[in-house]
Symmetry: C2
DNA sequence: TGTACAATCATTGTATACAATCAACCCTAG
DNA sequence: CTAGGGTTGATTGTATACAATGATTGTACA
């Protein structure tokens, strides 16, 4: 199956999203020639995209063997959440000081989305909204290096939450914690925002059930077709 | 000037070192074809190396324009040191808990080097020894994600210290602070190690003179020749 | 003289052909 | 039936040719 030609950035976005939402199951091999054919380009830009995903820890590249979708072990998950716990409270502190009105709007938007998806019993979409909310918060901290690292760590935690079962989590609590965090930022109460962020992360981790893996898997062609406009 | 063929990893190391030590002056354009000729390979592996350096913030790539050696502004320097201040004390805490005997040996080795280079009045080499010492510390924390981010941030701070003038700093104090830090880690006193690391960073920053830029610059060919074995 | 515009050139971006690598398979000898 | 070793095939790694981009220079015209 061949599609219309696509730009490198677009290809990156599609693959990133697919890994992000665990539609490409962790461990899947990404073969350059197949992707090239699917996206209607040569292997050259595909290699660039895979290389970028490697630096973001979303794929692992084994020399002369190939690229494989990142597959977090529970031990790695713990290390990832540890780093998130190190970075996010401080970034939240800065966000409370520096958030622009458009940052605040963005946070609000995704909070509403989260609530809406919970009510519609679509936890998978709610998780995406939560990710976007947290992303909006860290973007507001205005330190590009901190943003870069936290964005990466946040993506990894999102993959973990999507890949492992979190159905036991209390959705109402989750939404309330996020709203409280937003309120603290909105009121420029940086200390309180930091403390809320600090307490928030353990409440995410405790609901992960590492014994149950979920399955959202799609084929490469399904993914390409879905994201291809028209 | 053409040289014997070299592997991608080796090329990466050479370019990284050259940028790291400000031998390639910040702002220098790195032209793919020149590097390819210099290293005796095609543009393909050069592009891979430049792309990697880009993800490590050591070069900036402007699309359709080229790759340029990272050129830190004082404002960026502040943001970089801020992130270092966020990460390094905690990593030092973990290092005190987890350092292996070979980690400790490594730290000790570079402490001696630092002292030795100061005595020989070679501040530039002493800076490199300090970097290696700090690197040994963070490696001991055993969290691969934290190590990755701190390694990057540490490299950026090293570039800043090499690029701007720090000749006013008190070399004896510096060495003593490092030895104290090592002692705390050696004694597994994690809390003290963390505190020392916390106090150490401001004492680095205060000696930077952003008004004076130093010049260590070499041409690409000089760099290739110097690092080429034989 | 200064500005708009066209041609030129250096450089990056992409496609394709070929080389190198490694795993899996099969075949043979013990 | 098993262990060793060579062969094959799928995949990545590299070189090279060509296309696209955008800055620079030169030039005509106001």
């Amino acid at each position: 199956m061949s599609h219309s030609k696509m730009g490198e950035h677009q290809i990156y976005q599609i693959l990133r999203n697919a890994i992000f939402n665990a539609e490409l199951p962790p461990g899947t091999q990404l073969v350059e020639s197949s992707l090239a054919e699917g996206f209607g380009v040569s292997r050259t830009p595909i290699r660039a995209v895979l290389s970028r995903l490697k630096y973001e820890s979303l794929v692992r590249i084994i020399p002369n063997r190939g690229a494989f979708v990142y597959c977090p072990t529970p031990e790695e998950a713990e290390q990832i959440f540890f780093v998130r716990q190190m970075l996010e409270p401080e970034a939240t502190y800065l966000a409370a000081l520096n958030a622009s009105s458009s940052d605040l709007e963005s946070m609000n938007f995704f909070l509403d989305k989260e609530e809406q998806y919970y009510k519609q019993n679509q936890p998978h979409l709610a998780l995406q909204a939560i990710h976007s909310f947290h992303f909006a918060v860290i973007e507001a901290c205005k330190n590009p290096y901190l943003i870069q690292y936290l964005q990466e760590i946040l993506s990894l935690t999102h993959i973990i939450l999507t890949f492992y079962d979190v159905s036991e989590s209390n959705t109402t609590d989750s939404n309330h914690e996020h709203r409280d965090l937003y309120d603290a930022i909105y009121q420029r109460d940086a200390t309180r925002a930091k403390q809320l962020a600090n307490e928030h992360i353990p409440s995410i981790v405790k609901d992960i059930d590492f014994t149950k893996k979920l399955n959202h898997s799609l084929s490469i062609d399904q993914i390409i077709t879905r994201y291809t406009p028209k």
